[in-house]
Structures are given as C-alpha cells and as structure tokens.
Symmetry: D2
C-alpha cells in the first residue's frame, strides 16, 4: 500500500491514487484537438451532468485545487470591500490555506468556536454586528464545510436553516464541499437535496479526496452570482488550459454516482474502524463518526508506537487527539489490521 | 483532427491532447498511496531531473497553470509593497491574465513598447525611474517571455544582458517560459545555457503547450528566493494535492529530452508553414518565425474564408494580423493542406 | 517668502501657507465639544454648501489627502475584481502615488499617451477592449485630472463628451480635481457646470493647493455610488476623527467663492509669468497656460543658474523642461523679479 | 459644553476641541512658504523632539489618522505574504477599522481572548503555530494597545516581557498608542521607558485624543524598519502635503510635556468619576481605572435615563456595560454633576 517502513496509511484521503474509472476517462479524452479553456465537448457534458444533479440553475466552474475553488467561489459572493465571512474557527479557509482568504480576497473572517465543527443559525445571528456601524465589517457570507473539518455532517435541514438565516439577513451561504460526497453518502440524500434544495448559493465540489486526479469545481447555484465567473476564474489562477482533462475526471465521478460509491465505501471503512475500537478503555472517539474520518484520543505512548508503523496525523498534540482517514481504496483488511494494532498499542 | 466543420486547427498549442508518454506517466503513477503535497517519489525524481537540467541550485515548485506559475514566481521576487515590474507591453502578465498581477500581487507593471516583443537593456535602464522619489514605485523585477508573445526568441546572450542589467540595478530577472521548450529548440541550446547560465532568477516552466496534460512549474534559480515558496504556493492557490500526477507529467517531458523533440517538431511545422507562404503577394509575415507561431497579415476576405474552415485567432483586427500556431502533433500534411488553402484564399 | 538661499519659490502650490480665512475658520471651530467622525455642525454646513454648489444629489466625503481622496473615490466606483481604469499616462494616480492604485485598490490602469495631458472620447473607445474576452480586464472607470498634470484644462464640453462616452459604454467618469478651482476659474464657469452638469460621477475636490491647511474631499454625484462611502472612508484610512477641523477649512474656501478668488489670482500670476517670457528666444512654453502652471523648455545652463536661487522642479530632464507653479499668495513682484532673472539666465 | 439637549459629554476623547497651544502652533506655522511633504523646519524640529523623547534611533513618520498610523506602522513590519499578527480580540485593528488590516495589508489577525484587554507572553507562545506547516500563516508581529481598549495599562515590565517573547521568536512588537500619553501619565514613566527601553519596535503615537487637531505619527524604533517608510507613507494615503501643520501640532504636545499634562488631567477626571460611584450598589466598575476611561455596568433603565441627557456609548448591550471617557478639557464640575446624576439614576 505504501513504501516501507509503513504498513498502513490512514493519513489522508488525498494519499490515494485516482479511481481507475477517472484515469480511464482522462485517457479517453486524450484524443485529437479540442478547444481550450472549457469550450470542449467534455466540459459541455460535465455541465449537463452537473445540471442534472444540482438543477438547471447550476453553473459549474472547473477549478484546479480545493483552496482555489474556495477562493474563486467566495470571490463571486463578495462585492463590497467591507464584506466579511462568518465561519467556524476550524474552517479550512481560516486555518489551512496560508491566509489566502485575507491575502487574495482581502476579507476578514469572523470565526466562531463550535462544539463539533458545526455552525448554527444562532451563531450567525450573534455575529451580525451592527449594520450602521461604519467601523465594523459587514457579514455577507456564511461559510461552512460539509463534511466539517471534524468529520461531522450537517443534515439538509441544518443547512437549510443556515441558508434561511443567511438570506433573511442579506447574506449568502457558501459550502466548502471538499468531502461533499461523503456527506451525501452518510446522509443518504441527493446532492440536490443537500445543496440546491437546502438553499446553498455556492459550493466547492471536491473531487481529489473522492478518487480524482487533479482538479475540483465551483458550483454556483444562483445564476446572478455566476456572471463574473469566467473572468474571475482566470484571475484567480484557476483556469485549466486543457480543461477537458479535468472535466473528464469530474464526469467520471458523476457517471453512475461513482462519487457515492467511493464515498460510501470510505465511510464504511471509518465506521468499521470506529466500531472496532469503540470499547477500548483509554481511547476516546472525539466526535460522531459521520464520514470517512475517525478522531480519537489515546495515550501518547500508543500514538508514538502506532506512528512508527502507520502514517497518520496528530490533530491536537495538547490532548493527544489523532485523525484517521479512510478512502475509496481502503480495504476491510487494512482496517482490521489497524484495529488490531491499535488495540495492542493502547493496551500496552 | 477536430470536429466538423473545421478541417484544421492552428489556433493554439493548448488545443492538443497530451503526448502519449505524458499520459503513460500519469497512468504509471496511479498506483497505491503516496504522500500528498509533494512528499512523493515522483516529485523527488522531478526535483533531481530539474537539478540535472538547470543546475544544483535550482528549486522547482510544481504549479497548476501558467498564470499561477507566473504569479507564484513573481510573488517570490517581490518583497517591498512599492516594488514594480518592468515588462514588454505585450507581456502575457500584462494583457491576458485578467489583471491578476495587479489584483493578486498588488504590483504595478511598467510596460514598454517593443518592436518584436523583446525588451532590451536600454529599455530597462530608461524605466529605472528615480530611486529617491518616494512618489514613484521602484522597479524590482524585469519580466520577459521566452518565446515572446510574438513568436520571437531572445538569444542566451540577450537574456544574459538583461540579467546583468537587472542585477546591476538591484533587480531580478523573471522569465515566463510558457514556450521555453520551443525557444531552446530553436536556439539549439540547453535549458541551463538559456536560463541558469544566462542569469535568470525565476522561470515559469511551461508544460501544457509542450504536450502536458495539466500543470506547470516554477523553477527558482536563486536559493534565497525559494525559501517562502512552499507557503506561497499554498496561498497562491497552486498546491496540487496529489502532486505526483503533475510531477509525473513534467518528468516524462524531461526524460530523454521529450520536451525538445516536441518543440523541435512544432517549430519545424511553423517553419514549413512560413516557407510555404513567404512568397505570396498580399501576405506579409509579421515577425521572424523563431518558434511554433506564424503571425501574418493578409486580406480580410482571405481571413474570413479561411476561418470558415480552420480554427485560428485574429491577433489584431486593425491590421488584419492573424496568429497560426503549430504543436507537437501537427503533421506535415496538416501544414501542406493549410498552405494550399491559404494560397487559394489570398489569391482569391 | 522662503528661507535663504532662495529668493523665490515656484516649486508647488502646496508650499504655501493656508489662506488666512481658512485658518480663521479652524480657530473658530475650536470651541467646546462636537461629535466625531462627521456628526458635527461644521460638517453639516459643509454638506449644505457642497449641495448648493454641485446640486442636491451631491454627497461629500471629507478626506485627508489627495491620494486618499482619489483612492476613496475610485473605490466607490469599482465593483468587480476585474474592473479597470482608463486614464492618461501622465495621471497622478498612475505616476505619483507610489502604486497605491494597484496596491490598495488592486486595479489595473490602462494608460493612454496624450498630447497635452487630455484624454479624448476616441482614446476611451480605443481602449474598451473585448468585453467577452475573459483574459482581459474590463474598463469600468475613466479617470481624468482637471486641471491636467500639464496645466491644461478640459472644457465643460470636453468633460461632457467623456462622460457621455463612459456612460454609453457602461463606465463611470472620475475627476481628480486637485486643482479643480483653477480650472473653473480659468474657464469662467461654475463647479456645477464643469462637474455635475457635465456628467461627472465622482470628483476629488482639492483644497490644499487652493489655500487649505490639511484635508480634501470626495464629492459623489450619483447617490447610488455614495452608499458604501462611510464604511470605505474608514477602511481607506481617510476618516478624520475631529472632522470639524477639516470641514471648517472646506467651508471657508466655499464661502463667497474664496476658492475662485484664490485660483483666479494664481492663474493670473502664471499668465503674467508666461507673458513675460513668451518672446524669449531659446525658451519654449510647452503647453497652453490654462491654470497656475507654466511648463517651459530652456537651456540646461539657464536652469542650473535659476535653480541656485529659485525653488522649482525639473519636469523632464531629457528635454530640459521645468515646471513653475504659482499660488494664491504669489505677488506680481515675485513674478516680475523671476521674469527678470529668467531673461538674464536664458540670454546668458 | 455641548449643544442641547445634552448637559454633558463623556462619549469620547475625540469630541474635544484642540488644546489652545496646539492651535497656536498651527497658527504660528502659517507663515510664508515651506517645502511640502516633510522637508520643512517644523518637521525637522519634531524629529529632534521625538529623538530627544524616544532616543536617537527613533524615526517618526507624521501620519493623518489613527487607523492610517496603525496600517502604516504594521506595513513596515510585515515582509512576507504569509506573515500574521497576534493581537487581543478587542484590538482596534481587529474590531473598529472596517477590515483595513485584511483589506489594505492583506494580513490575517490571530486574535486572542483576554481578561482585561491585555495580552501575555503565554498568549503569544500559545499562538506561535507550527513554523514548518506551510498551510498556516506565520506570526510576525505582536500588536497591543497601550492604553488597552478596556482602559487598562500594561506596565513597562509587561511590555518588555512581550517584546522579549516576540523577539525571541523572530517577531516584532507593535503598539497602538492612540492613548499612549494616558498610559505614561498613569504609570508615571517616560515614553522612552515605556516604549524604547521596553523593546517596542513600532509605535502609533496618538495626538487627536490628547488635544490634537488632526494628525498622528508612526514612530519607528528600529532603523532598519524605517527604510521603506517614506514610500509606504505615500502609498498608504498618509502623506500630508503641507506637513508643517501636522508636525507643529505634535511639536506643541511634546513641548514641556503638554501631552503629559493633558493626559494626567484626563486620567484624574476618570479617577474622580470612578471614586464617586464606586460604592453604588447596582453599579459595577468593570475593569481597573488606569487611564481616562471608566467602564461600568448598571441597570438598563439607568443607562436609558442618563443617555437622555448625556452623550456616551454603550460598550456591550448584552451586559449593560457603558464606557465613559474624560479628556483634557473635562472639568471637576462636569464630573461631579455627572456623578450626581448617575447616583440618582441608579438609585432610581
């Protein structure tokens, strides 16, 4: 699975190869000439698929990576130089994009502590500030991650409530969907239910962590927000020259709901892992396992021992919390071996 | 070659598919797990190849597209908020990146009219401004394109003279090498001669137009400039999650100088095209054909007729100049048929 | 007039003291408490005066300096991240604000060579670019200086033609009016005729060069553009805490058209200077003298000799052009002495 | 003191007029010509005074307002595009400058909850993050307010400890000194002890709240940080054209320690106010009164009644906290009348 000395890799769902169907689609697209920058047949097909999935008002913009998709999507939503974004303090855009939000977009993030990575309408309302106070930025976007950074999922109802709160206060709802497939698979709902019908305005649609090769997409659900998209995608460094090769990947994931199969399997492996260690004294599963991540606290010595043979990240060194990720290519055997080693390590 | 109604495509070298070896390399990399963000074996191999090509002081940063590579490279060179860039007024960063230079980098471009797209040391010296004038931006970077936007090439000596002028005045030299392969092929020199030995500080190393699939690289030739690269690549939206798939492409192009074969062929096809029409009364080849581009002026009626059957861009409608690009997959037969049709169209 | 060794100062209209009436107004405002940030009686009075001068739709925003007024005004006019500004290549915002336009606003300037510092509708039309080209910035603002940087003036008809061209193409017209008083005085028209009725959208209203102490104003002529002004003034570092002291100065200049008296006198002194040297062989007045500036070319030796005793700027060392400015406090005797010395210096 | 219907004004120390000596200094400077942009005798004198006060290594940059001084000072300290600022979550730069920090500087603020508005070395150390994590911004500046936003003061020792912590970790210490005079007056120390000797790198030196008219200064204590100052002051919209009029104000405040007299009086009036209400049941003084501010919680009805006759701000409506500010021109009679009315209102 991974080069020695490691016997297993639960570090990230972006350590995987691409799903074979994705690679096949890229290879199939590698024929003859095609117009650049999106005027090709593969991108046309992708647009049809996205509209079939999300509704006719959806406009996809193929992008190049997750941070790029987030920044491009947000740039479409922010108009005034004093607009601000409300998000959980664990948000990827707040913590792990090297300040791109502030540097590239020039916008302030109003970050909110949460219990399980999930923002509530009450959180939003408490951060509305004072519209007439000219010394304060004015919230314009609520941004959430689905799946959250802690592996939990908003229900469609929870997203709808956030959308309603945002809209009622003149704001828009953005979803960082780096793992949106895992959420829909966990919730057993369609992307349309989870996103379009819930009232989301712009979605970063993740592919890399779901079996893609390179590339993501921004999906704009409100046509008026899409107008500047082509210009901004170029300016925001997200325009693929030979776009067909990214579009073909996304198409492959959307065909026959491959995205759901991949996500469902990854989720099942995380569930299997959690179930296999839930009873262990001395180990605590930190947050509900609702996707392909298991966050656990365990003794420092056990972490050290496991990390000598397995790849994974320490999430928070101050309380010995680690993050274990599964993916579409994680096998039950991989998980069972890991469970066995965790049990040994924790029991000492 | 391209879907009807077109019988030929001379629009751009990014209309091509990827070279088969590039696709093979991606497929070969699609195995097992690999660390994300560049800590993988394919990227390690690429770094070795780049150093073998450009010298041991070279540090490559895999990036996602050409504009991204330019912006990332420039961001490494600009330190003071009042630094400016001197470049030809035809520069891609000045004309075709939707204002990313100003918006993303916040920097002023001091643009210089040129005769054939090429900047001279005298041009640079004339734009140095007044260092002690606190109302003026201060030039810090000279940025040129090699191949230029007009299809011409700087010789290694010309680049060295620009580097010397830049360095003598406390500036750095940046090269937008979207078609650097075509230049080296035309000039018959190594990349090390053209870039490293000429004194270039940072290069955008183009792959897409040379047979790549998706992805480019920034190559930093001065180690002190590379320090912030990892942070800035993330912030500048250029960090590939599954980097192996981009690194593998670049590796394939560097292996056995595939880049040079591809470029040499493309150049030869442009040469063949130019030679086949050079004698045509009523048609003027605008600039020396030194790469894979032919710029020609011809009667508006002939342009119209040709565009009904061939894909290509009008470069300047005010003087009936068109741009014809060839690529690694352009065949002599493609060219000869086009020559024949051009001759007919021009003769009316 | 100025400390030794200089016997005269024609360097700039910001070398002057404040007009006594302006200082008196500041002193009169220095009484008791007043709300900060503009909620004071002096600012209310200023708003009334501005509306009386420019029309009821005018909204003034007191600002702190000329660059600040320009940047604040432009920030109100630019909405999309890919908007651009068309301006003369001599524009202050392009040449003498240390790149604030690019750094603070993030916007590209499309600069146009002009013969006498004045932009024409044809210039604008030639720079409209290609609206559907997503690789190009899209012009949104036309920015001119009135008086121009070369001391010339647009007539109200010329400004109206530019406004019409801008509006017909979905753009707005901005006027950097650092010397707007001198223009209105030269043209013998009201500010309303020159600005409001000509169709200007936003004006930087200069005070410092007209006898002010510190502070300028942005005057927004279209109410919809004024909405974000209070927030942006704070963000753009232009909000005066004790605003009454700036408002009182502007009020003083507007009272009884003091601004026009000051400008008329300064203009007359420049006229007197130009008339006194127009016949000199070996000296050329470069541009029509239509305000308080005289630009002249004269032998390098004469420049050197004059600069040993007079303060003034060399405008362009390559063609021995100097700039001589007059102000509200320049006396006929100052001018006559200078004429005499210029004549001696040029005759050698 | 203030126009009806108000009988008293405890809203802000920027509601006051300028101190008479400040106005006198402006009037005295209003004579003849002087070079613009700081090359004048008044600014030279100010530089001498600043160096006499803060030490020979100090370089002052006259600026136009408090937000401008903060942004200019910070811009001198931030070099890398991924630098970040650690500050209390109550910091003015984080809460009351309409997002200028993010928009103008492009920098992320890492905000820290505090008990009394004061940051500790432990707070800084806990936010250092992971230097090798390329997805995280890297702290470069610690920014504190002295006086804090809650009216408390850091001792020189506390500032020195923060400076030491910052420097030991490759960072710099910035002080927003909008009320630095009040701090030095409270602490009974010199500005040199509180700032220079404590190791502060850059100070925003406040004048408006201490009896100034318009204008502040940035004082750079490390010569290497001052180099770009003249360019950045222009770009950051803080360059006063007729600088003598701002310099003269600051000079007046520095002459004979007028700043300290003004601050000491304001502080004494706040102390008098606090002492006069400290025993009131139902009213709580929220934070130690260490400057010219009293923060108190009292019944909503009492607040409402008092606000019908007095000008002051509600600081936090959720816990009925108000802010009462005194200034150099607050009289004991003003305070005593207010005490009497507060007592009546609270007792109902």
């Amino acid at each position: 699975m991974i080069e020695s000395p490691y016997v297993g890799d639960f570090a990230s769902d972006n350590h995987t190869k691409a799903h074979p169907f994705v690679l096949d689609a890229v290879a199939a697209a590698n024929t003859g000439h095609a117009p650049a920058y999106g005027d090709d047949a593969w991108t046309s097909r992708l647009i049809d698929q996205i509209r079939s999935e999300f509704g006719d008002q959806a406009t996809p913009f193929v992008a190049l990576n997750g941070t790029g998709a987030n920044m491009l999507g947000l740039s479409l939503m922010l108009g005034r130089r004093y607009d601000a974004i409300i998000c959980p303090d664990t948000a990827h855009i707040a913590t792990h994009e090297t300040g791109a939000t502030e540097r590239i977009l020039g916008v302030k993030l109003i970050t909110v502590p949460t219990s399980q990575g999930k923002l509530t309408p009450e959180d939003v309302i408490a951060r509305l500030g004072t519209p007439e106070n000219i010394s304060e930025v004015q919230p314009k976007v609520v941004s959430i991650s689905e799946v959250t950074e802690l592996g939990t999922c908003y229900t469609p109802e929870e997203i709808a409530a956030l959308a309603e709160t945002a809209h009622a206060n003149g704001m828009l709802l953005h979803v960082d969907g780096a793992r949106i497939a895992n959420a829909a698979a966990f919730l057993g709902c369609s992307l349309r239910q989870l996103i379009t019908e819930a009232g989301v305005d712009v979605l970063s649609f993740g592919a890399s962590k779901n079996g893609g090769l390179v590339g993501e997409a921004v999906i704009v659900l409100r046509p008026d927000l899409a107008e500047g998209g082509p210009y901004l995608r170029r300016q925001m460094l997200q325009l693929a020259s030979k776009m067909r090769f990214v579009s073909a990947q996304l198409s492959a994931l959307l065909t026959g709901e491959l995205w759901r199969d991949n996500a469902r399997h990854a989720n099942a492996m995380a569930r299997r892992l959690a179930d296999g260690i839930a009873d262990l004294p001395g180990l605590t599963i930190r947050w509900p396992v609702e996707s392909n991540a298991v966050f656990a606290s365990l003794p420092a010595g056990a972490i050290e021992e496991l990390r000598s043979r397995y790849l994974f990240h320490v999430w928070d060194a101050t309380d010995n919390t680690v993050r274990w990720m599964t993916a579409f290519d994680t096998s039950p055997e991989d998980v069972d071996a890991f469970i066995s080693d965790i049990r040994k390590a924790v029991k000492g």
